[in-house]
């Protein structure tokens, strides 16, 4: 493994290519991260040498697959500092984990007149499950609003979270605003009112040290693919005593201890929530992604991203026709940078940047209520990861200037 965080190119062959005749600057990491060779090699090795179903066979390959799968669970446990490896449930992704909580814990504990509190900056995956649950249960869905500088309004949170609140669900880091929410404070607030708190870790776990015990979150969901694992694997952390009280999410193989004609005894956690054959190779490769991140160190990952933000954000803000959303202070901003160029629609911006080799996302970023709150239909979003370089940032800035020239400079 290449150890120098400033030159990881050998681990990421995908980044070494040209698109549209230009050097690729991959700045769509908030959508999905690229996979280092080590993760890809794990997938290939598993399928070429160890592939078998887990927990069922007595044969050697089944034993190997089971050991690696459970090893991956422990790696994730240590990575987020969960108290017990049984608190780690493998899911399809962050969305799946949040839906699991809404349709089990939520189904069981939300009643007529209860309140669910989320924030206006939620990704649809941490919004719709709660919205639909609230509709079904005649509960009230409340939104914590933003301060004028684009951070979560904690004064509003203290107003919105009341003794009627049963569930608080908030993103740890925004996929649009580049903010990190004070999840620990929110957890304390929720607990003071007897509510539980669900953290959406999709944009935080890949980028910063996360300690679920220190945060004191009750549930915490994240995706594997945004932290360089494969797609189709994710994690739901839940406190063991809560998980044990919850009904199963899906029924089928693997999640039972005994089945009779008229009833079923369900397995203990985590297997109660892992019905059917899981994404075994994906979980094992996610374990490799965890190894990779731990070898670099999450403090280092966060520091490198901060360095990139310190470099690129002031340059973006200095361009008169560019508006950056969320906090303007680089120290308050993660590597997720949503912006607009005056007079040019984000979709046109993204097409133009792509022509210059810069991969960004344009659209509502699955956060339409947030877009409405910001008063825009869409934004362009550049999102950095630790393997990005100042060269990528330079290419973004230059491409933005060329785009302005292309659309308004009379070059066509």
């Amino acid at each position: 493994m290449v150890n120098n965080i400033n030159d990881l190119s050998a681990d990421f062959p995908i980044l070494d290519q040209q698109v549209n005749g230009e050097r690729l600057a991959y700045l769509d990491n908030a959508a999905t991260a690229q996979k280092p060779k080590q993760v890809v090699d794990t997938l290939v090795h598993f399928y070429e040498h160890d592939n078998a179903n887990v927990h069922r066979g007595v044969h050697t390959l089944a034993e190997r697959a089971t050991t690696q799968y459970e090893e991956a669970r422990k790696k994730v446990q240590h990575f987020i500092n969960a108290a017990d490896n049984r608190e780690i449930i493998f899911t399809k992704g962050c969305t799946d984990g949040l839906n699991l909580v809404a349709s089990t814990y939520g189904e069981q504990n939300i009643h007529d007149g209860d309140e669910i509190v989320i924030s206006i900056m939620e990704h649809h995956s941490n919004l719709i499950p709660w919205q639909q649950l609230a509709i079904k249960k005649h509960a009230k869905l409340k939104y914590i609003e933003l301060t004028p500088d684009g951070t979560l309004d904690m004064a509003d949170a203290r107003q919105k979270i009341t003794d009627k609140t049963k569930i608080v669900a908030v993103a740890h880091a925004s996929n649009v605003l580049g903010t990190v929410n004070p999840l620990k404070d929110l957890a304390q607030l929720a607990h003071q009112h007897g509510a539980i708190i669900v953290g959406d870790g999709a944009q935080s776990v890949p980028h910063m040290p996360v300690d679920v015990q220190d945060l004191d979150v009750d549930f915490y969901a994240f995706s594997g693919h945004k932290m360089m694992g494969p797609t189709g694997i994710g994690v739901l952390y839940g406190k063991a005593d809560l998980l044990r009280e919850m009904p199963p999410y899906q029924y089928g193989g693997e999640m039972i201890s005994a089945v009779y004609r008229d009833r079923t005894e369900f397995a203990d956690i985590p297997f109660k929530f892992e019905a059917g054959t899981q994404n075994i190779a994906g979980a094992i490769a996610l374990g490799t992604a965890v190894d990779y991140l731990e070898k670099i160190g999450m403090d280092q990952v966060a520091a490198k991203e901060q360095e990139l933000v310190d470099y690129v954000l002031p340059q973006l803000e200095a361009i008169p026709y560019v508006t950056v959303y969320g906090p303007q202070d680089p120290q308050q901003h993660t590597g997720v940078i949503a912006f607009n160029m005056a007079g040019i629609h984000p979709h046109d911006v993204a097409t133009a940047l792509d022509a210059e080799g810069v991969a960004v996302r344009a659209g509502h970023h699955c956060a339409q209520p947030l877009m409405a709150a910001l008063g825009v239909a869409a934004t362009t979003r550049a999102s950095f990861y630790f393997y990005n370089t100042q060269k990528d940032a330079d290419q973004l800035i230059n491409a933005i200037k060329a785009t302005k020239e292309f659309f308004n400079g009379g070059t066509i």
């Binding site: 005749g21 046109d348 133009a352 022509a355 659209g363 060329a402 066509i412």
Partner: protein, 152 residues
Amino acid sequence: MGLSKLNGLYREVILDHANHPHNKHDIPQATSKMTVHNPTCGDTINVAVDVEDGRIKDIGYSGSGCTISQASASMMTEAVKGKTTDEALAMAKTFSDMAIGKQHSQADLDQLGDAQILTSIMEFPARIKCATISWWALQRALLKKDDEEEEQ
């Protein structure tokens, strides 16, 4: 290559329609209206038609969107104004077919007027929806049954 790749996509006539859209206004006497969303970007387009004796007497649109969607809506309204609904539906089909790479005769293309330029959108698969959304709205507006709720 870089941005020069885009010269075909953002030709002068396209930028002109986007910056100076035609028929971008409400039709108070409209016989049918339709709102459609582009779920990938959150853009919305509203098309209103005034059909009399099977002919599109007037047409207008509103909404916000990218250069491609705005230019396409402007060109679409120019192309179908005065046409019979059958002609307009045939044009919408030609446009949608072209956008997904199906071939049509030159005579069909000529019917589209300026709008045929945008069939070059097929070189940019990510943007096809932007160009077809207004034609889709037109189709829905023309085929809408009287009692059908407007999609919101």
